[in-house]
């Protein structure tokens, strides 16, 4: 029972991290209908930037802030320089562009920072929680709290502010939003800023959580998150979060606890194909 609980808690943390990476992808897909594979490279850059700032300043707060700012800039650059000019072509063109960006960034990181695994020796300033004689480690607590915080802020921005209203309007119908006086290109860029900053948080968190930062840490999430947004319902934020949590838990429990000899990284795609056959609009999709 103890092991089960431990694995469950790990699964939730894994799911929370998936959610943080997937959020940006979902937001971008919702507004541009582009599969932003390069988002995972932004996440990797976030981890490296965080590590760099942390190693030079020793401040974890600055590390998060620096990574978020750098990634936001990178996200907007990708949007302006690659996606925007390619939107007039069939959807596979920006998708291939995105994959090329992703691989190029991975290569650049490998050349600049080296092909090795760097450690991220930071301690997150969170207390260990004791629940009924059971201890939740400070790192896990940090993952939970930070994810919840990010979700809360995102919910506030999209649900409670005018900018969020503009974002939702633009994702419904961009020409109409334009006609209503919304600067939709600005809104698109803002979406990238938001999504990329969240990816930076995820990158730094993962770096600390596993104490590892390496150039290809985004490869598996890059494609797994695509499966997650299908399972959650393309473009649905709540669906993406729920699907991420379920996947994190399922992966950890099935493979870590039940020891089913299943390839961990294929699970997301098996779930995705099941969803495509059985409920095509996804868990929370509107069936658009």
């Amino acid at each position: 029972m103890h092991l089960f609980l431990e694995q469950l808690l790990n699964g939730v943390a894994q799911g929370a991290i998936y959610a943080l990476v997937t959020l940006g992808l979902t937001l971008v897909y919702g507004i541009l209908r582009v599969l932003h594979v390069a988002h995972a490279a932004v996440y990797t850059v976030g981890a490296y930037l965080g590590l760099l700032v942390f190693n030079t300043t020793g401040s974890l707060a600055l590390a998060f802030a620096g990574a978020m700012a750098g990634c936001a800039l990178l996200g907007v650059l990708i949007e302006r320089l690659v996606y925007f000019p390619l939107l007039k072509y069939p959807p596979y063109v920006p998708l291939i562009g995105s994959i090329a960006v992703m691989l190029s960034i991975e290569e650049l990181l490998r050349l600049v920072a080296g092909p090795y695994i760097l450690t991220f020796p930071a301690k997150l300033p969170f207390p260990a929680l004791h629940v009924g004689g059971f201890q939740i480690s400070p790192t896990l607590t940090a993952v939970y709290v930070i994810t919840a915080l990010v979700l809360l802020v995102l919910w506030f921005i999209t649900g409670r502010t005018e900018v969020g209203l503009a974002m939702r309007a633009a994702s419904q119908d961009m020409p109409v939003a334009d006609a209503m006086g919304i600067d939709s290109h600005f809104v698109v860029s803002l979406t990238f800023v938001l999504g990329s900053a969240i990816a930076a948080v995820a990158g730094v968190l993962v770096g600390i959580y596993y104490n590892q930062v390496y150039p290809t840490m985004g490869s598996v999430p890059a494609y797994k998150t695509l499966a997650i947004i299908v399972v959650g319902g393309m473009g649905s934020v709540s669906g993406a979060v729920i699907a991420s949590l379920l996947l994190g838990i399922a992966e950890t429990l099935l493979i870590g606890y039940a020891n089913i000899p299943l390839p961990r990284d294929a699970l997301a795609f098996i779930a995705m194909i099941a969803v495509l056959m059985w409920r095509r609009e996804g868990l929370m999709g509107s069936g658009r």
Partner: protein, 294 residues
């Protein structure tokens, strides 16, 4: 020719065959596939298993390999048919990951060790290697190109072009989307299977990573750089992406970056590829605007 040149040339020709199959699916029928390496792998594994465990000769196994690759293509193509565009892209990525996982985790397929000891191809009692095997590959490339050429001139091919351009209009002209998409899928995966069989008998040792997702990206990059939908694009793309890394061998560290950077620049500034309409190559060579269909 040195052995080094022959090795590079053989692999280029094999990749060109596989990319021809991808061209049928993506270029002709407009069905985006990001998992073509899976079918390349299915062909290679089928050939390897038939040769090592079934003791088939290359020639005896070949029709079976193509048939099985095509059938698996049909089977995996079915769920793909229910989805379009973005979903299709993700589904085919998924197929690639799942197929690779099966190769890697099912003991029957040799697991992480892969399959070794695949015999060389025999022809008239002679073991084909080096230049002779290259000639064999060139022969198959010629066959595949002829099939592609014929496909573009056939009603089936025309139906696929129509589906690629405008599915609803095509259906209103009696073209069954399911039938023709599957036709393209089976034809394309069959060609990938042929390429896989050649690859297995050339390398004589295969493992799951030879057919992982990045390989699919490389195959697609070859097609994009050549010019999707053009008959010669697979060959041109395979030659460019096969030769350039060799030329850049002195700066081996920057090879991958060069590769991905080229793909990025190409898709950003010339999404139609080198042989696409209005490309700088066409303007430079003053080629007539190509027939869009063929």
């Amino acid at each position: 020719m040195s052995a080094y040149v022959i090795t590079i040339a053989t692999l280029i020709v094999i990749y060109a065959i596989v990319v021809c199959g991808l061209n049928v699916i993506v270029g002709y029928a407009g069905q985006i596939s990001l998992g073509h390496a899976a079918f390349f792998g299915i062909g290679a594994y089928t050939a390897a298993l038939l040769a090592t465990k079934g003791h088939f000769s290359f020639w005896g196994a070949l029709p079976l390999v193509i048939l099985i690759s095509g059938l698996v293509g049909l089977l995996l193509g079915l769920p793909s048919l229910r989805v379009r565009d973005d979903f299709l892209a993700i589904t085919t990525i998924g197929i690639n990951f799942i197929v690779e996982a099966v190769f890697l985790y099912v003991p029957f397929f040799g697991g992480a060790l892969g399959i070794g000891g695949i015999p060389r191809v025999m022809l008239a009692g002679i073991k084909l290697k080096g230049a002779a095997f290259l000639l064999l590959c060139l022969f198959f490339l010629a066959v595949v190109l002829a099939v592609c050429w014929w496909f573009t001139r056939s009603w089936a091919g025309l139906a696929c072009f129509a589906l690629r351009e405008e599915e609803q209009a095509a259906a209103s002209m009696g073209i069954s989307p399911v039938r023709f998409k599957l036709t393209a899928f089976v034809l394309g995966t069959g060609m990938a299977g042929l390429g896989g069989a050649l690859y297995a008998h050339y390398m004589r040792f295969i493992s799951a990573t030879d057919f992982s997702f990045p390989v699919s990206i490389t195959l697609l990059a070859m097609l994009v750089i050549g010019g999707m939908g053009n008959l010669w694009a697979p060959l041109l793309g395979a030659v460019i992406l096969g030769v350039l890394p060799e030329l850049f061998r002195p700066i081996v560290d920057y090879r991958m970056l060069f590769y991905t950077g080229l793909l990025l620049l190409m898709i950003r500034f010339q999404p139609g590829g080198l042989l696409g309409e209005g490309s700088f190559l066409r303007r430079r060579l003053r080629l007539k605007p190509g027939r869009a269909a063929a």
